[in-house]
Symmetry: D2
Subunit: 305 residues, 4 copies
């Protein structure tokens, strides 16, 4: 059994926050963050990854059942039309985040203290009517780029990581080598630690005990110019840091780097298909709903092979 993860002191996070900070990198008004890495040329190259025509959703079904990990479930209601209706209509209501919904984060969704991406302040950005900038609407033209699967469970030789583990830069390197793929500027990475397998075997994840992305792995993403992070692990719980870093990966990724985060993907079918096709990369397409001021959006990302 591997030793549990160990965290660097909070000062290391402060240094990282400064070092990885993309403020000003794409201009003082930039709201796109790491989406800037996805050039038109990158999109053309990504399209060429569609070789078999296989398509696969990486989203979970919207979950309407209340549980410990889904305290405010999606509500789906059929509506009355007439005694002799000509069709069926319905309504949908959902919270944009949480641990049950596959969703994209707006860059201003999480702060580090008052700090928001590109030198902004939360007190100005967050208003009762929605985010005044860095909202989800800035991502309206969608994300179309190369996706790369990084199978950490496989490189560790385990079916799944236990919740006291972390994902380090070295794990990401090893996962690249295993799949003979190299993460490049503008890629979307999908980090897999076997969570769905673990839940199938051991029951629903305890949200207070979660595998975490370790600080040096965040730096790795910065150096590789990753455009989108997704994975079945995000912030470590329990959290060893102060409230400024209550969810330290979200805080550094969003507020310093402007790194786009795709939370709560369904990776098990993706892992299977990658193995079946013996591939580690694919075309990723997704687009948020056009919610002005929104802090995020439910999405259904599609992988094409």
């Amino acid at each position: 059994m591997p030793a549990p993860r160990t965290f660097p002191p909070e000062e290391t996070l402060d240094k990282l926050f400064a070092e990885l900070n993309n403020a000003g990198r794409w201009g003082p008004d930039d709201e796109l963050g790491t989406l800037n890495y996805i050039s038109a040329k990158k999109r053309v190259a990504a399209a060429s990854l569609v070789r078999t025509g296989r398509a696969l959703s990486i989203a979970r079904d919207l979950n309407t059942t209340q549980s410990a990990s889904n305290p405010s479930p999606v509500r789906h209601t059929m509506c009355y039309q007439a005694h002799e209706p000509i069709g069926a209509v319905d309504e949908l209501a959902l919270g944009m985040h949480g641990f049950a919904l596959t969703h994209l984060d707006a860059i201003a969704h999480v702060y580090r203290g008052q700090d928001v991406y590109n030198g902004r302040k939360a007190g100005v950005v967050a208003t009762p009517g929605g985010l005044a900038c860095c909202d989800i609407l800035v991502q309206k033209d969608g994300i179309f780029t190369r996706g790369v699967l990084l199978n950490i469970a496989a490189v560790r030789g385990l079916p799944w990581l236990s919740p006291d583990q972390g994902v380090y830069a070295a794990d990401l390197d090893a996962a690249e080598r295993r799949q003979s793929v190299r993460v490049e500027s503008g890629d979307a990475i999908f980090v897999y630690t076997g969570l769905q397998k673990r839940e199938a075997a051991e029951g629903p994840e305890n949200l207070g005990q979660r595998v975490g992305i370790m600080p040096d792995a965040i730096k790795w993403m910065h150096e590789r110019e990753v455009a989108v992070y997704s994975g079945d692990c995000v912030d470590a719980f329990p959290n060893p840091y102060s409230p400024r870093y209550a969810i330290y990966f979200h805080a550094i990724a969003l507020a310093a780097m402007g790194l786009i985060l795709l939370d709560i993907p369904a990776l098990e079918p993706l892992v299977k298909l990658c193995e079946e096709l013996n591939r580690g990369d694919f075309l990723l397409t997704m687009a948020p709903l056009r919610i002005k001021g929104g802090t995020g959006s439910p999405v259904n990302p599609i992988a094409l092979f």
Copy 2:
């Protein structure tokens, strides 16, 4: 000024409903309808349309303002987190159809009387908990195919069609010729009549007076094996038929053909970009939210050039 459209008698619709009916075509249990036209090979070919890497959303912003054409607007609410919040979260609630929201229809969304696609009956398909089959979830792996713009306003030599006009098969033929493109099996077509230009000049559309897709154009789509219809016109209003055909295009498209409908797209920017690039086709990508039992889904379709 062209003469107003004239409608065939209702018996013609009954005949069309039988003639264009895809029941049994893809098996007795099929729930995908014309998505069956989109083969893996079609997807590979569609990907090759990405030549410049330009990406464009074809959705409207979610509209939170109540109006005659948006009586039940989207609700977007920021949520309270704490006195010293670490981020911003929000909730979203919306009706799935209407004239303000860019959305995909589930195939069982509209009936012809009791008839639902592939020989099913509404009384069985529509339940208080959602559609028992042909719901939006069957489209979960998304739509990735060639999109073709058919600019009817241009072939008519008008900035926009007036609301008493119809779009005929001959218009679709003419639009193909104008753009030197031919609609093929599995394509998604986007029929443009200049609605947004008309609204900019004359104010919001009167929902009781709408340009309509004429019956012979529906037959055209069947013959060409169109996979997805979208456009700034759908069913003609006022409706000349009985309640069985209250929205006759939706009824025949969904309940007979299983034709996928993308309602309320934003076509003006698409028309502009097609003109700029001198292209009539592009890669279309979109994916509905995974709503079990859902009658439709808000989407943000992306065109890539």
Copy 3:
């Protein structure tokens, strides 16, 4: 152990529906039903029941937890105001009926086939925008009358009735005698069978097996000119009748008699206070929210002694 209830044939219900029918009794346009029994004089008399000044809610707390008997729970959401808020605000969403919410029914809430109170038809009354008449708004000036507790568990000498039992006219007579009270025109009755005690001992009620009001007890209410029925039992389950009488008590009470129904009261504290004060009657006050077209309303009925 008493023998389980036995139901009369469905023809008896048809006869009752005709016999107890108040259509036309208060004019062809009446929408108030048995609220007509509550005269101004009745209100004055009811006010005189306030002798100790004790006040007691008969409602349950709104229940935000999903469960078998509460599949669509109330949603209560705190809203974001500002980074330095001057107060707290929130939102509430709820379904108007079900087995978890204390609520008043609109008279047109339930039909017998197509029949709605006072000769109306459901196809006309129920519209997508709400009930066109006999909605909850007609009860807007509230209910202020004498309440009478009828403790059926006590007259049966049991802590609670088992779910295969029924409440008969003879039980109501016996409960009156036990408390030396006589139900009169315009009264609101509260029938107690010990449900909350049973649930405390045996767990949540199985909604498919419920104590029921028997047909002869409905006739009793008609003869006594009861204005409001409330109780911890309503319709018997499993239901022995056809869909026209799927919930036969609701159907006859609402659609024939126009009898006002207060569903899902919290009777345990009321029973205790009645015993403490040695009283069987009290002043009942409640008023629905003013929902135009509404099929019901959450309420918080108050008993005053």
Copy 4:
């Protein structure tokens, strides 16, 4: 035309906040505030005011139409039941405050800076799940007391007060004299300035320009031991004070006095009936929904004469 109101300096409000503060008056744990004035004896006396049996709602209809003064309207949705439904059901969603909904405030709804009633702090009281104390649930047994109408428009000899006016202690005194009534401990007062008449003549109120309750009138309410304030005017707008007193009447009433506030009543019918019956007092009954943690509740208050 009377001179516009003049406001005392903010220090006067600080002094008032201390002077009128009921912290500790009813114990360190009290959450009921001025409801403590309504004794059992008071309820018995109030019941005796029911002499004619006339009942009248003082609520507005729930307003589902979006407008400047109702930006987030109530949503009322009919729900699908079945192709042959046995009844009609619906859902309701609403924000608890605003200027369109008749509602009761929870005592912790508004702060003065961080100060909440009875020495509490907002950072502790307001949680993501609701108010931890002084929520609306503490008012669950309802309000049953004497209501007194104070017609300020009449004593000023005007059909309505213009929005630059204030209501002073002297106005309240004059209104008592006019109606030969004296406000006593535990009463609910209804201050009428003719707003609905003004709106009928001049259009919807500009929410930035509102008649206000003046500081000396708040002191009057404290001295008279008013239990419930209601009226067609509340806080003056524009507000002359700092954010601590953004809505100074709410801040002092709720956070210092624990004075119960019934916002947005419909007073016009009440004024008419009082005149018709030549009465200035009546029995007031109302009860909030039992919302644990709620910051308020929609209510339908009923006046009985």
